[in-house]
């Protein structure tokens, strides 16, 4: 790009030589700008990652001074442990439910906030709140709402006559998972909404008018004009959402610590517990590999999209 925008200097060999050295000087400076960031990246991200990959082939527990190479033994143990499958399925359930519910609510909320009405700008800004709050705060708020004794959810349902006895939501497997999913949905709706709102700005008014002339009502306009326009945004938001839900740790850990028993234990929780509570680093890294491979699936689609855009 920079080469094309400069006048040609081919006729003058001395100037050409000067330009070449200028180019290489420019390249060196350019690389130097990236260097601090690359060093930081290698030091705190790449090397730790490779190191943890390596440790998945080692046995390394609290009572050992140095890791001992055990080959695939950790992986064999992992695959023969029935908990592994249930943790992986927990993760999958959590990610699929959270991402899809957030997608629907985020899109609907973006459509609502795309209308013009009084107080819209204020409402848009306010809508970011759930996303901005610290995850521990969110978890405490959820724990308070779902509280089995004094929680407002039980109070409302009791008043409405839906239930006759208070339900200990966080103490039962299915309802605990539902609570974790809903809490995470609550956190992510604002972000999805922001992306969709940005996407909605680009929908052509002419096309919508044309669809209306053809007899479409709101639903039809949404289905045939808005949705196709948003398709690329929906894809990337779904992928990014799935990636971040796969990484999710804070809210889940602060809300249920993975319990009751292991009902809300995701890969993230299990790695943390193995590594920093049981200090069984080898096993933790082995589960980490499974976790990494799971995140890699949406990540590859994400990187492909970015790659296509850059080329």
């Amino acid at each position: 790009m920079s080469m094309a925008s400069l006048p040609s200097t081919q006729s003058d060999p001395r100037a050409a030589k000067q330009r070449r050295s200028l180019k290489s000087h420019e390249r060196r400076i350019g690389f130097a700008f990236a260097l601090p960031s690359l060093i930081a990246f290698v030091a705190v991200i790449l090397i730790p990652f490779l190191q943890s990959l390596k440790l998945s082939f080692y046995r390394y527990t609290i009572e050992m001074d140095t890791p001992r190479f055990v080959g695939l033994s950790n992986f064999r143990k992992l695959l023969s442990n029935p908990d592994t499958l249930s943790i992986w399925l927990n993760t999958l359930t959590f990610v699929v439910l959270t991402t899809s519910i957030t997608l629907v609510l985020g899109l609907a909320w973006a459509v609502v906030l795309n209308q013009s009405f009084r107080g819209k700008a204020f409402l848009r800004a306010l809508s970011l709140l759930p996303w901005v709050l610290p995850s521990t705060v969110t978890a405490f708020l959820a724990a308070w709402i779902f509280n089995g004794q004094y929680g407002i959810l039980n109070a409302i349902l009791l008043q409405l006559g839906v239930i006759t006895e208070p339900v200990p939501w966080l103490a039962e497997a299915h309802s605990a998972m539902a609570a974790v999913v809903l809490t995470r949905v609550w956190v992510s709706v604002p972000l999805f909404m922001a992306f969709f709102l940005a996407g909605l700005q680009g929908v052509s008014q002419d096309q919508m008018d044309a669809a209306r002339v053809d007899g479409c009502e709101n639903i039809g306009v949404f289905r045939y004009v808005v949705l196709p326009h948003l398709a690329p945004t929906i894809i990337i938001v779904t992928i990014l959402g799935a990636m971040s839900n796969l990484q999710a740790f804070d809210v889940i850990y602060a809300l249920t610590q993975g319990g009751p028993v292991k009902a809300t234990t995701m890969l993230s929780i299990e790695v943390y517990k193995q590594a920093f509570q049981n200090w069984d680093v080898g096993s933790a890294c082995t589960i980490g590999v499974l976790w990494f491979l799971t995140i890699a699936i949406p990540s590859i689609f994400y990187l492909r999209i970015l790659f296509k855009r850059e080329n």
Partner: protein, 279 residues
Amino acid sequence: MLLLNNWRARTGFMTLLLVIGGFLFLPIVWMLLTSIKPEGEVFVRIPTILPHAPTLENYRALFSHSETAMQLCNSLITAGGGALLTVALSTYAAYSFAKFRYFGRKPLMFLMLSAQMFPFAMLLISVYPMLQWADLLNTRVGLIVAYIILALPSGTYMLYSYFINIPNEIIEAARVDGASEVYILHRIVLPLAIPAMVTVGLYSFMWAWNDLLFSLTLITSPELRTVGPGLLLSYLGEGRANWGGAMAESIVISLPVVLGFAFLQRYFIKGLTAGAVKS
């Protein structure tokens, strides 16, 4: 845009507005109301919505011991430090990736972006002994260094998307005038990129402020604890938790990020979505 010219469309619209709005905002209202209720009104099976005798007692209790103030201070230092470091590193890298041509530039950028698929807890397992080795475990500096992990890749990409849209002609013109590369970046390009840098700064500040995992793992001294673990560890495991106090502390520790967003959200939404939505 929807056309709300008939009764059915208006009802549908209002239903969406109320249901999703209620879902998003009522919990926050409940948090505020609980925080100003006296203890006797919190622990009842069917509570009243508004407090009979609103009180600021929970907030007074919060600041009567110094823990909360100390944790706020720790979070301010570590999240602020992490954000500054992230902005500095990602700005130079993004400018380099966007405006220079050298061998390996694209692969390096994609390698960095691919880091978003490395599980955080898995990185921490090996960051932990590294910080221990450098004598930075259980220090604020160590936590700041670890916070780079959170937003360096995505911050670099956000700034990259921004720099790409700054015309090359501006840079070329300065080069023809004999300006040095360092001068061009600092005096010509950076002033144009301030909105994007604010976005990345706020983004990484928020990640670090809201963090639980890193701080829980890398900090063990109570006097260095940040707000996330602070809240968790002071109210968790009590048989009958002090919910009013927990809600008051929740509100107090949320205020810094909430205020940050209140002032900067305009920049923020633009910067954040620029990279992901095709223009």
